[in-house]
């Protein structure tokens, strides 16, 4: 009686295990004509999906389509990767670290992808990195910002062409000081989680170096996705600060902008929104004129006027009826960097090995829709590029958001030099910055 019960339980488990193992056993070594398989991981559900996850995923879709059709501008005009078509598999990043790591293993070991491109959450990037190294799986992070990934340890198979988040805060501080020469006081409102804490730490650190006389007044850390900032707006209204720094995004950014507008905070102090670019197409005329806008690099309206940008923003806008925002650009430059590394590593028609691609990717310099990227940090695994900040204005005649007064900062001006941790660089007075 008991035997029957337990036995059928285990039969069920056995069947499940057998079903899972089937595809793996059916695998045969890939012939040269087999497509290049890419796993694309991005938030497809949850709060980070609409501002970052889906623009990132759409950026991947449109770029891969163009690459497979061979319609991208030179030097990206070879079909797919080195003449081999790309086959993409999209996976949701939402879920616990356990889910994310399990899905990563599934992509690499079950689906046998040639590379994984993705990840927005810094926590997920940190969780995936050791697994990628252990499995020797080529992994390209496209959006996550923490500098810890390449500072904690040297990595062999993990790459990130998009610069880390230190650049965003240092760029914001440099722009603010350039525009407000006699700044005496500034405040900050950031979400109480790693991104908000890190953004503020880098910003206040950079301000201490660049404007030692300016004082940090109100330092506010409302909880993530609080949505309601009445008390914080009241606190800020009592401050004499000329500027308030925020790394809010999506719902919190929109909530804060709406709620402060009713009480005129933006008339009292300039808002510096370091990720503001990802929300301008939704906020439109609700975003106050004069807000300082960043986009985690020279992306979107801040992007340089080059052929790659014209091509990318056109194919993206034609398909999705909305201009690409910074996550789309970050995805595009990650894929284009990987493509160049792949083609540099390929000899003849055979697929290059993961080690060959990694060796070619290391230290690569290339130009994409957002300008030049130099893989110089983290032993050639972490990219730097210039950044840009600007001031927001809603063009009433054209009924379109505009970013004016754009200032560009060279890559070496806002990124630490190789061999020094980002926070130590800021603490030490940002030595070696070339502006």
């Amino acid at each position: 009686m008991i035997k029957g019960r337990t036995a059928s339980c285990w039969t069920l488990a056995g069947l499940a295990a057998a079903a899972m193992s089937l595809p793996a056993h059916a695998q045969t070594p890939a012939p040269a004509a087999a497509p290049v398989k890419l796993g694309i991981v991005s938030f497809l559900s949850g709060p980070a999906a609409s501002p970052f996850g889906l623009p990132g995923r759409n950026g991947a879709e449109i770029v891969i389509e163009a690459l497979n059709a061979g319609t991208a501008p030179a030097p990206y005009n070879k079909v797919g990767f080195g003449g081999t078509k790309i086959e993409a598999k999209y996976v949701d990043e939402a879920g616990s670290a356990a889910n994310v790591v399990t899905d990563f293993r599934n992509l690499v070991q079950r689906d046998q992808v040639d590379a994984v491109v993705g990840y927005i959450s810094s926590g997920n990037c940190l969780a995936v990195t050791p697994v990628a190294e252990e499995l020797k799986a080529l992994t390209v992070f496209y959006d996550c910002g923490t500098p810890r990934i390449f500072e904690e340890k040297a990595r062999a198979y993990v790459f990130r062409p998009s610069p880390h988040a230190t650049m965003d805060s240092v760029g914001a501080a440099r722009y603010l000081i350039a525009k407000k020469k006699n700044l005496t006081s500034f405040s900050g409102i950031n979400q109480n989680y790693a991104w908000g804490q890190d953004s503020w730490r880098d910003f206040i650190g950079a301000m201490k170096v660049l404007a030692p006389k300016a004082e940090a007044d109100k330092i506010l850390f409302p909880k993530l996705f609080a949505g309601e900032f009445g008390a914080e707006v009241s606190t800020l209204l009592t401050s004499k600060s000329q500027a308030v720094h925020t790394s809010f995004w999506n719902g919190d950014l929109e909530g804060f902008i709406y709620q402060q507008q009713a009480r005129g905070l933006d008339k009292r102090m300039t808002i510096i929104a370091t990720t503001g670019e990802s929300s301008i197409w939704r906020l439109r005329d609700k975003m106050p004129d004069g807000t300082i806008i960043g986009g985690r690099g020279p992306h979107g309206p801040l992007a340089p006027d080059n052929a790659f940008n014209k091509w990318f923003s056109k194919i993206y806008t034609d398909r999705y009826n909305v201009p690409p925002t910074y996550p789309s650009y970050q995805m595009a430059q990650s894929l284009l960097g990987l493509k160049l590394a792949y083609e540099k590593a390929a000899t003849g028609t055979a697929k290059p090995t993961t080690d060959q691609i990694a060796a070619a990717f290391k230290g690569l310099v290339f130009t994409g829709p957002s300008g030049e990227i130099k893989m110089v940090l983290g032993d050639g695994h972490q990219g730097i590029q210039e950044t840009a900040y600007g001031t927001y204005r809603f063009n009433k005649a054209k009924k379109e958001p505009e970013i004016i007064d754009v200032m560009r900062f060279p890559a070496e001006c806002v990124n630490p030099p190789p061999g020094i941790d980002a926070d130590k660089w800021i603490e030490g007075g940002m030595k070696g910055a070339k502006c």
Binding site: I2, R5, S8, A24, V91, S96, D103, R105, L126, P130
Partner: protein, 318 residues
């Protein structure tokens, strides 16, 4: 007959362990996470038998995981077996402490209070920037009495360790269910006052169950931390607790084995839902739970009792 069940269970466990070298690595690591989480679910089953649902079991899961990770971070200690035991002990001690408070509450009050306690830990960890806040930090690669495996061997070693801990936990929880204190679960659920009149302290029985569930949660968290290789405060977040309750509903409280099967089924369904429907996987999981509640209100475990009835008494009405 009871002893027979244990022999069969043990034998099947050996089969599961022996299958490891023939399974692809990703299946082994998926099963390890499922079987580690199953320990937390087993703890919830213990509580569920007295009619208590904890929406804060992630507290012990997170404590177990952070105990492992912090030992590595602070003193570089990596012995897997000692770390798992440590995770269980630290979580058990926490449960023993807060049990004095929790054991007095029932129903929604128990659920909400346990939820509040886990969210306190979450809040503290989020504010601790030195531990990486919400980003968390990585766990050192575990070793086994000085033996330091890598790659597929490490996955297998952790899988076997998880199976061994599962076997011991299942054995003890099975024994506990058959003990007097365990057998009193249903009477307590039905009428506490009557049980008190038997001369038994209901509070202390529930306190014991809170501690058992806490130890199991800590063991599960410690094993999960080593398998994932990373810990973050989301391990204490209420959605993590909700996930465990989900699996408990899926599994049902009838059998010890159901916790393990339920957890494995959940991981497999989740993994395949993500694979097949990347944008609708949550809906798939929700549908599975809804169908389970509609057609198997007693959980997956009741499939077995239905089958058993049909086999044992053909033709007779249940």
């Amino acid at each position: 007959m009871q002893a027979g069940a244990q022999w069969v269970g043990g034998l099947l466990l050996l089969v599961a362990a022996a299958a490891a070298p023939f399974l692809p690595n990703w299946v082994v690591s998926l099963a390890t996470i499922a079987f580690a989480n199953a320990l937390v679910v087993l703890g919830l089953v213990v509580l569920w038998r007295v009619g208590l649902v904890s929406f804060g079991q992630a507290l012990y899961y997170c404590i177990g995981a952070y105990a492992v990770a912090l030992m590595g971070r602070w003193i570089g200690f990596t012995d897997a077996i000692a770390l798992v035991l440590l995770g269980g002990i630290v979580a058990g001690l926490t449960a023993a402490g807060i049990g004095f408070l929790l054991a007095r509450y029932r129903e929604i009050f128990f659920a909400m209070l346990s939820l509040a306690l886990s969210m306190i830990l979450y809040g503290v960890l989020v504010k601790t920037e030195s531990l990486g806040s919400t980003d968390g930090f990585s766990v050192l690669t575990p070793t086994f009495f000085g033996y330091a495996p890598h790659g597929a061997q490490l996955s297998r070693a952790l899988y076997w360790l998880t199976l061994a801990i599962d076997a011991i936990a299942a054995l003890f929880v099975g024994l506990y269910f058959r003990s007097v204190a365990g057998a009193l679960a249903a009477p307590i659920r039905d009428n506490e006052i009557r049980v008190e009149f038997l001369g038994v302290s209901v509070t202390s029985i529930i306190h014991t169950k809170v501690v058992i569930a806490g130890v199991l949660g800590g063991l599960g968290g410690a094993l999960a931390a080593m398998t994932i290789g990373h810990v973050d405060p989301a391990m204490a977040y209420w959605t993590t607790s909700g996930g465990f309750v989900f699996v408990t509903v899926l599994a049902g409280s009838g059998y010890v084995a159901a916790a393990f099967i339920g957890s494995l089924v959940f991981e497999v369904v989740r993994s395949f839902a993500v694979d097949v429907m990347p944008q609708l996987w949550q809906m798939t999981l929700g549908s599975v739970l809804l169908l389970t509640i509609l057609f198997l209100p007693e959980g997956l475990g009741s499939l077995v009792s239905r089958l058993k009835r049909r086999v044992m008494k053909p033709g007779t009405a249940p």
